[in-house]
Subunit: 220 residues, 3 copies
Amino acid sequence: MPELTRTDAVFVLDLGDDENRFAPAWLEAVTAHLDTVVAGAEPAALVTVGGGKFYSNGLDLEWLAGHGDEGDRYVAAVHELLARMLSLPVPTIAAVNGHAFGAGAMLAMAHDFRLMRADRGYFCFPEVDIGIPFTPGMAALLQSKLTPAAAVASMTTGRRFGGPQAAELGLVDGTVTQDALVTAATESVAALAGKDRGTLAAIKSTMFAPALATLREHGN
Amino acid sequence: MPELTRTDAVFVLDLGDDENRFAPAWLEAVTAHLDTVVAGAEPAALVTVGGGKFYSNGLDLEWLAGHGDEGDRYVAAVHELLARMLSLPVPTIAAVNGHAFGAGAMLAMAHDFRLMRADRGYFCFPEVDIGIPFTPGMAALLQSKLTPAAAVASMTTGRRFGGPQAAELGLVDGTVTQDALVTAATESVAALAGKDRGTLAAIKSTMFAPALATLREHGN
Amino acid sequence: MPELTRTDAVFVLDLGDDENRFAPAWLEAVTAHLDTVVAGAEPAALVTVGGGKFYSNGLDLEWLAGHGDEGDRYVAAVHELLARMLSLPVPTIAAVNGHAFGAGAMLAMAHDFRLMRADRGYFCFPEVDIGIPFTPGMAALLQSKLTPAAAVASMTTGRRFGGPQAAELGLVDGTVTQDALVTAATESVAALAGKDRGTLAAIKSTMFAPALATLREHGN
């Protein structure tokens, strides 16, 4: 399960050691940790990272298959997590330690920045190959963070991008070795941890207003 | 006139051997060929290419000058072609074999991808120089596919971009020699031909919903 | 105070020798000079540049602090200047000779193109650090000109970008030495000075319609 630690101003949210799929309990745990991150008034920034081979494999399709009647509520909860990360009032960076697939990759895209392990792991939107089109909210999120060429190349092909390819396309901002990943991510947001939260919240909410509205109003 | 051939899953639509302007009969022929491309259920992908010095020189201004009372219907038909290509439920790539001007360049931009001959031919939006501003639908299409800097550089200047310059700006995704053009374009979409059509249609329609709505609703 | 000179078709608007903040009198002078630039029918293009260490330091916060009751009108006037530059019916380029901060950097972004001195000066949006979030209009302007990654990197961090970094991120289109700045900027737009103004006005107004509407309708 997700665990939160803190070093000075920087919170590190470990998303877990397995596939880190968005099971309901996992969503609740992550949400509670985000509450902790933004609860204080002191400087804060957030790094998220997975502990094993995965950053996150996204939607918990197995759980969803067994709870069809809760599908709408589940998707709304996923949308809310993405919206919350997109507008979190502290600087955020995803340290993509391994595979980031589907909603897991979307969660990474919702951060301010992304740093990816260079040698292993894939960044991938498999939606086109598994017959699950992006919801309008998910598409709005991704398109608010990607160039048009990167959006087409990643959202319509199901292609898997290794770190260097992901960086070249702009899916992530850069790559480093696995050993340096959390340290580099931490350093990059530590310098930004002192930003006034109300101002940063207002800036992100204004910049991403259309995507946030689509994620939250349509809830689909 | 446009001709359609097929090799395995990949359809190649030859736009013609002359300027390949959007004459009404040309529009009808292209539309009928697109019907063929999407008619089956088996894997399919589309390459478009011109046979001579031109990919396409765009609007048939000569015809239009002689049919002023049909102007609105003509522009609506052009918009519909652009919208259809933008949301075609199979992977698409324009093999830009030579000059792509105006609406011809717009048609190329409506594909998922563009590959351009490296040594000859220009990619150009001459609208600013011929006194024909982009319609809202055309501008929405182009801006949904270009970075802001590329949109300004190409849409406000009338500048002609050779292959390497077009690739550097992101008007096209890459360049190859003329000999390799159709083969390289074919290979790049052949690998994507098996995508489920309903899913791909839903993804493109969601991603480009604003541009599609502007092209189709306003019809101007 | 701002001064306008002309060499052949190219107007050079010198924004002043000090910080070139947007004092009310400065705004009036710039507006009057823009009237002159677009008054004729002959070919014209615009270069803006500062005369000292600054391109412009943006809002006149000191004046604003002493005229709180005029704040809304002042911000509306700034929005109107940004909207006007964004849609000016002649080609425009900002020659960023030195520091461009806040609304000064926004004014540069409202031009069609930006060329920056390579060795000195910073391009910076300090809004997040001074507790003044971007208005919806200002954010819409900047996001209509920047890639998503560049918008996040510049608008949420308060980071100062030297010329080469600004060019790498796409905040400016290129850099040159200070000696060559105005000459290079002039040459780049001189070739575009003959564009038909009605057509160019229509193109820019269509391309940037959402940002222009947000700048002008909301007036905040």
